[in-house]
Subunit: 317 residues, 2 copies
């Protein structure tokens, strides 16, 4: 399942409104097929993996990060039917599909046809992997990541605005990779006008993965090449966008935090002190320190050169 | 040597002007004696360990974090003579003692008497362990640690000053343990007047280890129970103080950083966001971002409950 989850990541930010699913088919201890949901949402991961496996899928075990679909579509047959036709022996799925058109009937159809089904293996990781799809389903809006690149003292620039560079090359490359995992990048007006950031993916082989650029501004002006939203909540209206990366500056970050619309924090921290610099975020409406606790859970951490990356998830229980 | 270094930590903050040395005596694979420099600097670690070992020291190997002393003192015989008298077979020392009264003559005396000597084992860790003694020797001032307890966005309080609590119990207990490892704790006038911190060690069994309290202020007033220094550089005058812990607030921290008098950063970070709060440090005289890089090296990190502790050392090459 860990391998299937890794495959699922390849589609992240490209499959909306479909979930980014990963699938691996194993027979006699050997991988015979791998697949992930393709750009635009089709073909599904299972269809790709079955196509690779061919006749070898007969009697095989299929690891898939989401319950195979059971609803017919003009864009292709259902994955449960494809799996039954291919004669697989067993399906291991991380998560049931809450889409009312499937919601257990994919599993039911498989079992009725004599395929063994296990569900719930790696569920927490699968939820994280398909956070965009699940957030859109549950809350009617995209999943939002706030990216901060700070010094040890929490500054994103010197007092005069100098911000190049706080983090090193490895951290900046990682941040570009993160861009490719989102359908949209959002900045505030101040950052746009001060830095005119290109907001593209400058990584070899991924330059065609640059996401849609969104500007948060109360102004009514339009800006060529940018989608304008007037308030954080308005990201719900962005069609085909299940993942938004908020890149800056402090104004946009604070507006999203104050609206409790940040689901994930990505903090790149350089081992430097700035002192009296520009803070990463402004007022977010915190009334008491006690209210700040219990909201963020560390889910990932790693060194990127001499910088440290930490990822936190918003705890919503 | 790792065990001897752990023993050395027990004396840290209590042995000035002597170094906090650790010593372990091993014979036939068994520990026969352990010792560390006692409060006030005497007896030395080797003397304590030899006393414990008794006759078992004959033919044993002695691990010690600093070259045994060779200079006679009214307070006791030299450690090299004690080791020779005890008939040890071998001495492994982490670091030569640069004290001109020893400086190689401890090793020389041992070798002349037929004791095998290795030097340099675990030298980097020993330098860190005896940073107070070595900094006083090299720079004529105590080793200075700056402690910060911040949110993820680098704040040490809300805008209105509320700062209890940012970090959790485990982090606060660790900070009290750190106090016990310093001869003096320093705060600025603002922190003293706003919080009137007790600056003692509130840990069971260590309550007699509360360090001297120092106030950084340009005012000429004296404050009962506190030593007053008028500028960061004046910590050099503090007799019997080889380790200073700067605890707050942003003014004192910035003054010490601007004077390049911070040797070690201890950052306790809670997984919370404050937003628009009080920054950990103010202006430290940084002219360009490029100048901020390469000054701090991560030397330790650990989780304390849900908080994270990171220790950085000032790179001085």
């Amino acid at each position: 399942m860990a391998a299937a989850l890794t495959l699922a990541e390849r589609g992240r930010g490209r499959t909306a409104p479909n979930p980014n699913v990963g699938c691996m088919i194993v027979k006699d201890g050997r991988v015979v097929g791998r697949g992930w949901t393709q750009a635009g949402g089709r073909p599904h991961a299972e269809a790709v993996a079955l196509d690779r496996a061919g006749a070898a899928a007969r009697g095989a075990t299929v690891y898939v990060t989401l319950e195979p679909c059971a609803h017919a579509s003009p864009r292709g047959p259902t994955c449960s039917d494809l799996l039954i036709e291919a004669g697989v022996a067993r399906v291991v799925a991380a998560l049931g599909d809450s889409d009312p058109r499937t919601d257990g009937s994919g599993i039911g159809r498989l079992r009725d046809s004599g395929v063994a089904v296990d569900i719930g293996v790696g569920e927490a990781a699968a939820r994280r992997s398909m956070a965009g799809f699940l957030t859109r389903r549950a809350l009617g809006r995209p999943h939002v990541t706030l990216k901060l690149a700070t010094s040890l003292d929490g500054c994103i620039a010197r007092a005069d605005g100098e911000s190049r560079w706080i983090t090193g090359e490895a951290a900046r490359a990682h941040a570009h990779l993160e861009r490719a995992r989102h359908e949209a990048i959002l900045v505030g007006r101040g950052t746009y006008e001060a830095d005119a950031p290109k907001l593209d993916v400058r990584l070899a082989g991924l330059d065609n993965r640059s996401p849609r650029r969104v500007l948060l501004t109360r102004s009514l002006d339009t800006v060529a090449g940018l989608t304008v939203v007037g308030a954080p909540e308005r990201i719900a209206d962005l069609d085909g966008v299940d993942h938004v990366l908020v890149e800056g500056g402090a104004g946009a970050a604070s507006a999203f935090l104050a609206a409790d619309l940040i689901d994930r924090l990505l903090i790149y921290r350089a081992p430097i002190l700035i002192g009296g610099g520009r803070p990463a975020i402004g007022d977010i409406g915190l009334d008491r320190l006690a209210d700040a606790h219990g909201r963020w859970r560390l889910v990932d951490q790693r060194m990127l050169g001499s910088d440290r990356l930490e990822a936190y998830e918003r705890v919503r229980d």
